[in-house]
Structure formats: structure tokens, C-alpha cells
């Protein structure tokens, strides 16, 4: 069923009886060409692009719980392509371009809202680094603008420009950055994939891989064996747990990232602001909640919850630049499991096992990558060659010494 304003009006007048399921609850078949493990944003996007862009069929997405219940449903909804390094920037810019046409393509309003993202500058060294980054963005076809303190003050009059411990000395803006209604991304891809024949199978946990003579022929699941020509792991957050079933060790640690939302407030923040020196970033949802976060808790965890010190650290950062926030209330916190990789960048690659593919290591930046990740992964699955924007996301980059380390923190995942 096509969604449209006309349809909404018609249904409103006829008691909303015509709306069907957004996607079918499919039962697993014995065999597929492609089995995608993980019904999150990336998995569903992969299925969608495989079906639509690469004209593949016989595709299943296996989800151990409910689709969209992982990190696509527990992030701070930011999209941007303000990356520095050659291995990253083209990929994230590709993703941003896909976001820009996504809703019309999926026929689903995911509220892609390009209200801009602003990274605050607090020191000369940081300005130098941001200029280098902004130039890298422009050289890669993205947009970037260096804002003066005056411009920032005009746009955000309540920012504590002078009095904070780290005065604001400018900012790097990407006006095409913004936010997207995160749950809608999973639902929109699910609906569009389902319409193209993809089986979305919920409550179907993968318990093992069937590997014969170095080739993966399918997966054991809670609902029986499912054969597959190609098996595509796409479970960021649980990557190590899943790939351990194929006896693989990964360059990944799982960490908890907390995020927060305030009570609903009348509009105050037009776009996204990041305050790097204070470990705080914030946007305001269309509902009015300030959505904010900061650093990961910093220790390995699969618990999907964090602890007080980071909550305090994040709010300290918030109060330092928005001293009016003292009287706003934090409504809810939540935690997601991050695949923190050894250089802070993801992996989209074949494994050493034929027929088994891997997508993971997104650190805390997977949401904005959803369309490009799905597209590039579908490209890899369909053609066995990496997509041109994702050629650097290889497993062997660590042994070859070709890390993609945006932050320059080295092989310590919790510092990325």
C-alpha cells in the first residue's frame, strides 16, 4: 500500500480500516540465496538494496528479537558526513546523499531533517584540525562552513560563549547534517524490503553456522536450519558473540554508550551541536525532547545500561555550554552496545570462510551510515567486490597497517 497525504485523509474519514501490516511476519523457508543476520537498520537496508538495487531475490532477514530493537532504535539520530580521512569521507557522504532521497524512495517519512550540525572549536589547535577536516569534506564533495563566534552567538544566543571554562572560538558547520527519526528508518526499510519480497523473520535467533569444507552453507536458528548461498552477518553490538560461533575473533570490543532525552520543550535548538571538549552533543527532536549524549562508559559491556559517572560527565558538558539547561529535566536514559573497533572505523568485508560475510565495527556512528552500509554491503554480497566508497573497510587493514583512525587513538577501542 502506498502512503500519501491523500491516503491518510481517506483513511481518517473511513475509520483507518484500510491500513495493513507495515511488513509481513514471514515464516522461514528452507533455503534462501541470501540470509542476513540482524534485523536492525543496516540489515534491513542491506536486504532492501539487494532486492531493489541489485535485483536479487530469495532474501531473508533473521532477527532474534523485534526488528529495530537494537542500536537503530537507541541512538541520538544524528546524520552527518563530517569525516576527515579518505577511507571514511566518501562513504559517509554517499550515505548522506542516500538519506536525502530516502523518504521518497522508501515511501516512508523518516523525518530526515537537515537542520545542520555544528562542531564547536575551543582552541587554535582544534581550529587547525577542523579546517583540515572541513577542507577534506569539501574536497570529497560534501559541504562545510567555518563559523565565527559571532555567527554562532547569533544562531545560539543562549550558548555560554565567554564564560565557559573552554571559550567558544568558532565552529565547523555542516548544514546538510541533521537528524532522522530513528525507528522510522528500520520500519521504512522493512516495509520497502517486504514489498520487494524479502522475508523478515522476527524472533529467530541464529545459534550457529553450518560450515562445510571452509564454506558456509547456512545457519542454525531457533526455528531450525536455514540454508543460504550467502550468509551476511550484520549484528553490530553483538558481532563478537555471533562470529565466535564461526570461531572468529574480531578486532572489536563491545562497549556501552548511554544516551539521554529531556522532557518535551518548545523549540530551542535548531540543529545539532557538539561540544567536543566537554563530551556533550545535543539536538532537539520534533517532539521537543533534547536528545543528548557524550562519551561511552569506557569498559566492555553487553548490559545495555551504564553508570552515573558518565551521566554526570555528559550533563556537566551540557551545563558548561548551555547554562539554562539546569532547569530542564532529564527524562530518560538508555544504553546501547557498541561494536568499538580497533581504529574506530567499521568493517564491511568477506570473511576467510566462503559464503560468510561480515558487516560491523560501527562504533557509536552506525546510525548515520545506515543507507550506505546497506548499499555497500548489498554491493559486496551481490558482486563479491567492495563498493567504491567502502574499499578501505577490510579485515586485513590491521595486519597491513592501513588503519582508518579518525581520532588518532590507536588500538584502544574505548578511546575512539
Amino acid at each position: 500500500m502506498n502512503y500519501s497525504g491523500f491516503k491518510v485523509i481517506k483513511e481518517a474519514l473511513t475509520g483507518h480500516r484500510g491500513w495493513g501490516p507495515a511488513w509481513r511476519d514471514a515464516a522461514p523457508q528452507a533455503e534462501y540465496d541470501y540470509v542476513i543476520i540482524g534485523g536492525g537498520g543496516h540489515g534491513l537496508a542491506t536486504a532492501y538494496y539487494l532486492a531493489r538495487e541489485f535485483r536479487q531475490s530469495r532474501i531473508a532477514v533473521l532477527e532474534k528479537g523485534w526488528i529495530g530493537g537494537g542500536n537503530v532504535g537507541r541512538n541520538t539520530t544524528i546524520i552527518r558526513s563530517n569525516y576527515l580521512l579518505d577511507g571514511n569521507e566518501p562513504f559517509y557522504e554517499f550515505s548522506l546523499k542516500l538519506w536525502e532521497g530516502l523518504e521518497q524512495e522508501l515511501n516512508y517519512n523518516a523525518m530526515v531533517s537537515q537542520r545542520g550540525i555544528l562542531n564547536l572549536i575551543h582552541s587554535d589547535a582544534q581550529r587547525d584540525a577542523f579546517i583540515r577536516r572541513g577542507n577534506a569534506m569539501i574536497l570529497n564533495g560534501a559541504d562545510a562552513e567555518l563559523l565565527s563566534t559571532t555567527r554562532i552567538r547569533d544562531r545560539y544566543p543562549f550558548l555560554n560563549v565567554n564564560n565557559a571554562r573552554f571559550p567558544i572560538k568558532g565552529g565547523l558547520a555542516q548544514h546538510r547534517g541533521g537528524t532522522v527519526r530513528h525507528d522510522a528508518v528500520a520500519w521504512g526499510y522493512a516495509r520497502a524490503a517486504d514489498q520487494r519480497g524479502v522475508d523478515i523473520i522476527q524472533n529467530c535467533e541464529v545459534t550457529g553456522f553450518r560450515i562445510e569444507n571452509g564454506t558456509c552453507t547456512g545457519v542454525e536458528t531457533a526455528r531450525g536450519f536455514i540454508g543460504a548461498k550467502k550468509v551476511a552477518a550484520c549484528v553490530a553490538g553483538s558481532s563478537s558473540r555471533l562470529m565466535q560461533k564461526a570461531a572468529m575473533r574480531l578486532p572489536i570490543e563491545s562497549h556501552v554508550l548511554q544516551a539521554f532525552v529531556s522532557e518535551g520543550l518548545k523549540p530551542v535548538l535548531p540543529g545539532v551541536i557538539t561540544f567536543g571538549a566537554g563530551h556533550f552533543y545535543c539536538s532537539q527532536s520534533d517532539k521537543g525532547g533534547l536528545v543528548f549524549g557524550g562519551d561511552i562508559d569506557g569498559y566492555n559491556s553487553y548490559a545495555q545500561r551504564g553508570n552515573l559517572p558518565v551521566v554526570e560527565d555528559v550533563c556537566e558538558g551540557g551545563m558548561a555550554i548551555f547554562p539554562m539547561l539546569g532547569r530542564a529535566r532529564l527524562l530518560r536514559s538508555w544504553g546501547g552496545i557498541m561494536d568499538m573497533s580497533m581504529d574506530g572505523s567499521p568493517i564491511i568485508d568477506r570473511t576467510h570462510i566462503d559464503g560468510l560475510y561480515f558487516n560491523g565495527g560501527w562504533c557509536y556512528g552506525g546510525f548515520k551510515a545506515t543507507p550506505a552500509s546497506g548499499f555497500a554491503y548489498a554491493h559486496l554480497l551481490a558482486t563479491d567486490t567492495p563498493h567504491e566508497t567502502a574499499t578501505a573497510y577490510r579485515f586485513d587493514r590491521f595486519e597491513r597497517g592501513r588503519m582508518i583512525d579518525e581520532k588518532g587513538m590507536g588500538n584502544q577501542p574505548n578511546l575512539h
Binding site: 523518516a110 574536497l139 521537543g288
Partner: protein, 984 residues
């Protein structure tokens, strides 16, 4: 003025009337009132508007679970949006305003949404507003954003302060109702360290809202007596106005104490609120239970409230929302409200009980098997229509309707570590499951034990259990006789034929929305929540989740526990962000570190700059200098010409001692240190294990077994941590000891051709610091100014003949003054970080901008320093191909072809004749400055194969800042490449 709906009795102090304003109209109440109780007493039921349809709303509850009566409290910079009128304590002069309405609460233009609600069903926005694409940000979204949101922030800095603190106890008792008081008495009398926390200012919980007795006392009197005893115990800390907001790992609880929220403004020096981190060995969850509503047609009008709330307003606050009240219930507790109201002289017009076997009453009319069919009243309830059990409709005039759908134990904190509650059929509610936070024992109503007697016994038992775990024997406390009624409930969640029946009243989620979600396959509880926004209101689903689950269960043909439970996450109630930040805001956001010469530099009028937590002098303007460059150029020129002084105390200093000290440095630096002579300094390059440069600095050998290592300012802490890792974890049996001495010594660089001459006036004459006796890279202990112990290093960051002199920090101020005095004859200048930066760029020295975490020794041109003859951190992994590319980036210098051009940091480099694009990127500029010595801008840069491109003219581009011009590749050593000056 006594309010029109004021009743007799209650726990308010009628001798203390208080004036307040709501929406600009003056009212009065009494001490002990909340804003909601005082407004109700004044006959005001309408207090807010709902989120989506802007429907009129009055209070639903009498506590912190309130979803409807939320207001903007106070004004100006203290304005506090979304404040629950039901918990806001009245104080003299309180002002509050309604929110999310325009132009007024009674006449809200956005209420038109309500007329259009059919078009705004759950998830409608996912299906429309997609065309044309550009309209989203420009047209649709701004309208949605403006209509959405609740209260308004002040846009002014919060004027109040906040505190944080840390408390320790054996037992934390969460909630001071009958359960908590019994638990605290039991544990307190046993001598345990007890903290009793309650969100209310008046301990007692429901005891303050009920009429039944404990022994021969009223509930409130018993609670007051228990409190008096607890307050007298030195081992018990009673915390009122203190909400336990979260259960964190290992028995740590977050508790927010509202120190000043009941006052017009905080007392001098006192915080508004305090965030306590409570370290508990055990905790008893005695958080009670919350009554839940029943969903029926137009169940959201002001005046329709939880029955227990109406009871609380009558008994505790001596007020009623209306003179005629009806009750709608599915359980016996609804009848308790009816009889209490009758006793207070309120007319109970009917009790509609969904149970056909409802108990009768001679005090009021009971309609057994009845259901509410419809309600009336635009801005407040005026009439209800009841579907009679035998058919037909009965219209009943009333101004309030108490709804009692049963009680939900307050299990929230049991879920904060992902525990799941379990269903209990006997009370038709979720109770705590067995995956509790370790150390937590739920008791009383929170554990599903709803009678007062049960609460007391349960609290006592929980305390005994908790203390027994800790080896403390707690004697059973004598407990009074108390009410022990059984729970009699027949689940009834919603009137099925209702067309517009509210499940989540704040977010305007209706029963139909839940059904539509099911129809569209948003069946799991997480999908339901996210698709409809059910439970995402400021009450976090406390008043709405159960009904939503029940309706979903019904349409999905499942049981409630099969549909699932929603996760409760911290905080328990919405919590001011300021209190999480505590004192760390404004200037005290982070500590400020000052150098030993800070005060002196201030006197010189220096400009300061943040360097991490340090404040360093950036330059020292002289009278008449109007541009910073004038000052910096002068400082550079004068230093190179004669002598300059710079405070370099911020550099990290680590004392390394032990018989293996040299061997240890061999491991942490990629270059060798074993053969460094005593009295000598060497430059050291430190790699991370992955072969990337971590830091650089010097190591001075003061004795065979004693070195002082310096680090960059930024890396002092991580380098020390790393060295301890190497020492303790990798080479645990090396004889080496480490300690930071950064702060112990005030250290000044004295640089320039006259630096020796100047220092000879300071260093005591018995120390020969001539070039022969104290050559480049010498170090040693000296005394200065007639006997003060000092350390002298002949090292140079500027490239000049230079020394660094260190004295105990307390003499740093005196030394800089003495150095300046002694240097007067040489026209000595102090220089700041800018001049320091210019001179190091002129000399080609790498610093933070160059050591950016992706750079190898090869990139710096120092690959030959990585010794392959010894084991050092990072040497093996630096052999990887990606770190040894043929066209690797190399550190070079850049000069503009046109001397008027700048060479800004952050610009990228392109080979001449190639297209400006990422594919052709040849490198980037790391540091740049104007060089007064060369008379033009210069820069350091990383350039592919840079070492072989000297003299090449390349294109420097910075599209971000609009720069595109030619620069020449030169050696990074702009000044004195042979190093003659520093050996002079």
C-alpha cells in the same frame, strides 16, 4: 480567602496562609499544600493542555506520577518548565503558568488539533509530508516543532547552584511509607547504618492520605512518631524531598535531594538540589504502589482523577476537586475513597463498580456491573453517563470522577539493571521478578503486598533479612495493629466500545491508536511504544503502560505477560540536568591549573590561553601594541637577538629511578638510552605499541639510576599511565620506580644568545656553566641566588642557545622576577606560547599538531631512531607495510611563493597541474605562523614523499577558508639548520 472546595482537617497548617499566582490570578493556600491541592481548593481543575490535541487537562494524581497538571513554575531565569503541580510545594509568592497553550489555557487555538484528531492517528506522520521533499525542513517540520514540546526554557543561565555528594550505608530504605518506616525502625534499632529516603517532604507515604489507624494512632501520627525516633538515632539518616532516581551497579543508588525547591529561592551558599551517590550494602525497595486508571470514553476531562488521588486530596490536604464526586472502580479500594469522602462531607453521587458482585453500601449508591459510557464538560467534568448493567444509560451530574483500576507496584528500580517484573494474577499487576539488582529487597506494596499490616510486616522482615546478610542480628520490632484488607479486584482495563478513550493522557495515545498499531504489525511492546509514543510522556508510562499492554494483549489474543513489559530506565522521575552537573559549571566546569609565574604574568598584562586544564601566558603585550602579532613578533625577535624567558612548567616531568631505569627507558623509547652518560640529556621518541608516535620529550640522566623524563603538556597523564603499564604489567621485575614531579618544579626556558650570560648572574658561581663545562644537552643540579637548589638543563626548543632552569615551585614567582631583573641589561623579554610556537616552527620541531595519533617516526623523518637492536614498545608493529609506504607523508616546511600570502594550518596540498580533489590530495598543513626572522608566513606540513620534493612549488588549497595559492617545499628547519646557535 478560604477556597471554595476546602474541607475540614488534613495535614496543612491553617495558621500559615500563603499567597500564590497561577496564570496571573492570585489565590491563597496553606503551608503543606501543593500547587495542585491549593488550586483544587480554590475550585480550579483546569491546569494544562495535552501534548498533541491540546485537550484540557487537570490533575490525575496527587504525586510524582502526574502526567497532566504540569506547569511552568517560577519566572525569569528560574523558570522551570514541565513542573508537576502535584508535587510543587506551595510557598509564599509562588507563581506558575500553564503551558503548551495559546493564547490562554481556556481558549487554546491549537485545540483545533482535537477536531482533526482523526487525521492524526498513531504514526500518521510516517505516511505523509514527503512531497515535495524540500518542504519537510521548510514547511511541515517547523509547524510540527512549534506545536510540539511542552514548557519553555528561560533562555537564561540557571542562577542556582547544585551540589553532589557521596554517602555510605549498610541499608538504604527507599520510601518512608509504612513499609519503609518499619524497615528503618528495625534496622536502626539494630544499630545498622541506615539511610531512609523519601521523595515527599512529609514522610509516611499513603499513611498521610488514609484514615485508618495503626494501633490507637492515626497513620500520620504513627508515621510522625516513627520519624521522631528515627531522627534521634545517630546511625540513621532521614532524607526527605529525596528521590531515589536510579539503581546502578554494585549497590550504588542515585538520590536527588531537593534542598531549596520549596523555597522562593535557595538560602545563601545553599544549593537548589544535591545529587547523592549512595553506596549501599543492601537496599529495601519500599516505593509503594501507584493506582492506575481505567480507559473509557473521554476519560481525560479535568476532574477525572485517580480515586486514590481524590482520597489523598481530601484526607491529607483537606480539599476536593468538586462537591459532587462519582467513583468508577473495578476493586474494593475505590469504595474506600467513597466512604472517606462521605466522612469528609463530600457528596458521593454514585460508585460505579464494574463487578457484578460489587459490595453494597448504605453511605452511597453502588451501581454494580456498570460502566462509564460518556462524560461531558468542556473545560472540566460536569456529567457522566453510565451504562447500566441491565441496559440503559443513567446520567449523573458530578464535578469529579474518581477512577480506580487497581494498583501497580512501583517496580521501576527493580528494572534498572534489566530485571523484568513478573505477572501476579492475585492483584492483576506486575510485581518484581527474581532478576533484581544485587542487594535489593522489594517489600510492602512495591512487592505487591497492599495492606498496611502487610506493609509493616514485610518491611520488618526485609530489614531483618538484609541485616542478616551483613551479619547483623535485628530483633523484630513491635508493630501496631493495622488494616489488613485483602485485595479484591476483577481486572477491567477499558470500556471496549469507547471511540475516543485516552491511554496515555499527556501524549494523547488512545485505545484506538493501540489497536491501529496492532493492525499495522507493531505488536511487540517496544514497537507499540515507539509507534504510538505510549509511555514516552513525562510520567514515563507510570499511568499509561498497563492499560496499553492490556489492550494490546486483548487485540493480539495474548495474555498481558506474553505481550511483555516495558523497560523502566533511570531516572525514576524526571531530574533537573543541573543537579547531574553539580558544581562543575561555568568557571569551575573543570579545574584551572596555573603556572608558577601566573601571578607575575597577570601583573605584566599577559593574555592567557587554555592548554588543556592549564592557563598559559600567550603573549605579553607592551604599551602601544595594538595587534597580537606585534607582541609576538617582538618576543620572537628579541629572544633570537638577545634573550627571552618562558614558563615551561606545564611540560610533564616524571622521575624514573632504579637500577633498571636506563633499560626501562630503552623499552619505552624507540631510541636507545642505555649508553646515555650521567649529566646528559637525550631527545626521546615514544611509540604506541601499534607503531604510531605517542609522545616525545627528553630524558635527563641525573645519576646512574636516576632520570627525569619530560612529556608534552597534553600527554603528561597518559604517558605516566603508559609507563606504569609497562612497568607493572609487561616488565614487573625490572627495578624501576616512577613518580610524577610535574608540579614540584617551576621550570623556565631561558633562550637566546645572551641566555648564558643572564644565567651566570643567577646560578651560583661555584657552578661552571660555560660551553665547555656545560655543553649542549648537559644537565645537572646547581644552586641559584645564593643557595637555592635547582636543576639546569641545556636543551633548546627555540633553536637558540638555551637552558631550562627548575626550582622548587614555591620559588617560581621569585625566580621569574629575579631573572627579569637580572636580564634587564640584555633587554630580556618574557615570551608566551605564541612566540614559543613561532620559534619551534622556525626550527621544525614537532608538537601536538604534528603528533596527531596517526604519525610514524618515518613521517617525522626519524625512522632511523627506531632501534631494531632492542625490544621497545611499538618497534615490531611499525614494520607493517602501511606504515612504510614508498610515498609516505614526510614532515616538510612550506614558504609562500608570494611572500604576502599566508600558509594556513588545515590547508591541503595538491601537485601543480592536478585537479583539486580528494583523489589528488598530497598532504596537509599542520602548523603555521608568521616568521619575523624570515619576514613571511611559514608552515610545517606533511607531504607525500616530501623529503624528495624540496624546492618544488605546490598548490595550497583551503576551500573552507577560500585560499588557493602556490607554496614552495623547503626544509622544516627554517632557522639555523646546522644547529650552530644552540651549541654556541
Amino acid at each position: 480567602m478560604t477556597g471554595s472546595n476546602r474541607l475540614e482537617g488534613g495535614l496543612i497548617d491553617r495558621s500559615k496562609p500563603l499567597r500564590f499566582k497561577f496564570d496571573g490570578i492570585g489565590y491563597s493556600g496553606f503551608e503543606g499544600d501543593t500547587l495542585a491541592s491549593a488550586l483544587l481548593a480554590n475550585g480550579v481543575r483546569l491546569m494544562g493542555r495535552s501534548f498533541k490535541y491540546h485537550r484540557p487537562r487537570g490533575p490525575m494524581t496527587a504525586g510524582s506520577e502526574e502526567p497532566n497538571a504540569i506547569v511552568e513554575l517560577r519566572s525569569g531565569a528560574r523558570k522551570e518548565p514541565n513542573t508537576r503541580a502535584t508535587t510543587a510545594e506551595l510557598y509564599e509568592g509562588l507563581t506558575a503558568n500553564s503551558q503548551n497553550r495559546w493564547p490562554s489555557l481556556k481558549w487554546d487555538a491549537m485545540a483545533v488539533n482535537d477536531q482533526l484528531s482523526n487525521f492524526f492517528a498513531a504514526g500518521f506522520y510516517y505516511k505523509t509530508f514527503m512531497w515535495p521533499a524540500a518542504f519537510w525542513e521548510k514547511v511541515y517540520e517547523p509547524i510540527i516543532r512549534k506545536a510540539a514540546g511542552l514548557g519553555t526554557l528561560s533562555h537564561k543561565p540557571d542562577p542556582d547552584s547544585y551540589d553532589k555528594g557521596f554517602l555510605h550505608c549498610d541499608l538504604l530504605v527507599i520510601g518512608a511509607g509504612p513499609t519503609g518506616l518499619a524497615a528503618a525502625l528495625t534496622a536502626g534499632r539494630a544499630g545498622a547504618q541506615v539511610i531512609l529516603a523519601d521523595e515527599d517532604h512529609l514522610p509516611g507515604g499513603r499513611l498521610n492520605a488514609e484514615t485508618f489507624t495503626l494501633g490507637d494512632q492515626t497513620g500520620a501520627d504513627w508515621a510522625a512518631a516513627a520519624m521522631a525516633e528515627l531522627s534521634s538515632m545517630p546511625n540513621v539518616r532521614v532524607m526527605t524531598r529525596s528521590t531515589v532516581i536510579g539503581a546502578f551497579d554494585h549497590g550504588i543508588y542515585g538520590v536527588v535531594e531537593r534542598v531549596s525547591d520549596h523555597l522562593p529561592e535557595p538560602l545563601p551558599g545553599k544549593p537548589r538540589q544535591i545529587l547523592w551517590r549512595v553506596y549501599s550494602k543492601r537496599a529495601i525497595l519500599a516505593a509503594g504502589a501507584t493506582e492506575r486508571p481505567i480507559v473509557f470514553e473521554n476519560n481525560d476531562r479535568p476532574g477525572i482523577m485517580l480515586a486514590s488521588a481524590i482520597r489523598a486530596y481530601a484526607n491529607r490536604w483537606g480539599t476536593t476537586p468538586a462537591k459532587q464526586v462519582a467513583i468508577f472502580t473495578n476493586n474494593d479500594d475505590g469504595h474506600r475513597t467513597a466512604s472517606d469522602l462521605v466522612a469528609k462531607g463530600v457528596e458521593v453521587v454514585a460508585v460505579i463498580d464494574t463487578r457484578t458482585d460489587a459490595p453494597g453500601s448504605d453511605l452511597y449508591d453502588v451501581i454494580a456491573g456498570g460502566e462509564i459510557d460518556q462524560t461531558w464538560g468542556r473545560l472540566g467534568l460536569t456529567r457522566i453517563e453510565v451504562k447500566m448493567p441491565k441496559g440503559g444509560i443513567r446520567r449523573i451530574t458530578c464535578g469529579a470522577l474518581g477512577v480506580s483500576g487497581g494498583w501497580n507496584p512501583n517496580v521501576h528500580l527493580t528494572c534498572h539493571q534489566r530485571g523484568r517484573p513478573v505477572w501476579n494474577d492475585a492483584i492483576s499487576a506486575f510485581v518484581p521478578g527474581d532478576t533484581l539488582p544485587p542487594g535489593m529487597i522489594p517489600a510492602g506494596a512495591a512487592a505487591g503486598d497492599f495492606s498496611t499490616h502487610g506493609a509493616l510486616v514485610s518491611g520488618r522482615k526485609a530489614a531483618q533479612e538484609a541485616l542478616a546478610d551483613l551479619g547483623i542480628d535485628a530483633k523484630p520490632t513491635d508493630l501496631p495493629q493495622a488494616e489488613d484488607a485483602p485485595v479484591r479486584i476483577t481486572p477491567f482495563w477499558h470500556v471496549t466500545r469507547a471511540k475516543r478513550a485516552w491511554v496515555d493522557q499527556q501524549n494523547d495515545v488512545t485505545a484506538k491508536d493501540v489497536k491501529l498499531a496492532h493492525q499495522e504489525n507493531f505488536v511487540s511492546v517496544e514497537h507499540l511504544k515507539r509507534y504510538t509514543t505510549l509511555g514516552m510522556a513525562t510520567d514515563q508510562g507510570k499511568t499509561s503502560n498497563m492499560a496499553g499492554l492490556a489492550i494490546m494483549a486483548e487485540v493480539a489474543g495474548k495474555s498481558i505477560p506474553e505481550v511483555g513489559t516495558t523497560m523502566f530506565r533511570p531516572p525514576y522521575t524526571p531530574t533537573a540536568m543541573g543537579v547531574f552537573a553539580g558544581r562543575s559549571r561555568d568557571e569551575t566546569f573543570r579545574p584551572t591549573r596555573k603556572t608558577p609565574s601566573h601571578k607575575w604574568a597577570e601583573e605584566q598584562g599577559a593574555t592567557f590561553v587554555e592548554a588543556g586544564l592549564w592557563l598559559r601566558a600567550q603573549w605579553f603585550p607592551k604599551p602601544g601594541e595594538t595587534h597580537w602579532r606585534e607582541s609576538v613578533d617582538r618576543e620572537v625577535t628579541q629572544t633570537r637577538k638577545s634573550v627571552g624567558i618562558c614558563d615551561v612548567t606545564t611540560l610533564g616531568k616524571i622521575d624514573v629511578q632504579g637500577t633498571d631505569a636506563a633499560e626501562f627507558l630503552n623499552r619505552v623509547y624507540c631510541n636507545g638510552f642505555a649508553k646515555l652518560a650521567v649529566g646528559k640529556v637525550r631527545y626521546g621518541l615514544m611509540l604506541r605499541e601499534d607503531g604510531i608516535v605517542m609522545d616525545d620529550g627528553t630524558a635527563a640522566r641525573l645519576a646512574e639510576d636516576h632520570f627525569v623524563v619530560t612529556t608534552t603538556t597534553a600527554n603528561a597523564v597518559p604517558v605516566y599511565r603508559h609507563m606504569e603499564f609497562v612497568r607493572q604489567c609487561l616488565f614487573p621485575d625490572m627495578d624501576v620506580q616512577l613518580i610524577s614531579t610535574t608540579e614540584a618544579w617551576a621550570q623556565f626556558a631561558v633562550a637566546g644568545p645572551n641566555s648564558r650570560a643572564l644565567l651566570q648572574k643567577i646560578v651560583d658561581p661555584e657552578f661552571d656553566i660555560s660551553n665547555d663545562a656545560f655543553p649542549f644537552m648537559a644537565c645537572g643540579a646547581v644552586t641559584v641566588c645564593g643557595g637555592l637548589r635547582a636543576r639546569l638543563f641545556r636543551i633548546s626548543f627555540s633553536g637558540e642557545l638555551a637552558f631550562e632552569i627548575a626550582v622548587p615551585t614555591r620559588y617560581g614567582d621569585a625566580l621569574i622576577r629575579r631573572l627579569m631583573q637580572a636580564g634587564a641589561e640584555f633587554d630580556v623579554v618574557p615570551y608566551g606560547t605564541e612566540a614559543l610556537g613561532v620559534m619551534r616552527i622556525e626550527k621544525g620541531h614537532a608538537t601536538g599538531n604534528e603528533l596527531n595519533g596517526t604519525i610514524t617516526a618515518l613521517n617525522l623523518g626519524m625512522d632511523r631512531m627506531v632501534s631494531k637492536k632492542k625490544d621497545s614498545i611499538g618497534s615490531v608493529l611499525s614494520e607493517r607495510e602501511g606504515l612504510n609506504e614508498a610515498d609516505a607523508l614526510k614532515l616538510v616546511g612550506l614558504k609562500p611563493v608570494n611572500p604576502d600570502h599566508t600558509v594556513p594550518a588545515g590547508a591541503h596540498l595538491m601537485t601543480k597541474g592536478t585537479k583539486v580533489s580528494a583523489a589528488n590530495d598530497q598532504g596537509y598543513v599542520t602548523s603555521a605562523c608568521y616568521s619575523p626572522n624570515l619576514g613571511c608566513h611559514i608552515a610545517l606540513a606533511y607531504l607525500k614523499s616530501g623529503d624528495t620534493r624540496m624546492g618544488e612549488v605546490i598548490r595550497l588549497v583551503s576551500p573552507l577558508t577560500g585560499i588557493d595559492h602556490d607554496v614552495e617545499v623547503v626544509s622544516a628547519h627554517f632557522v639555523d639548520p646546522e644547529g650552530d646557535r644552540l651549541r654556541a
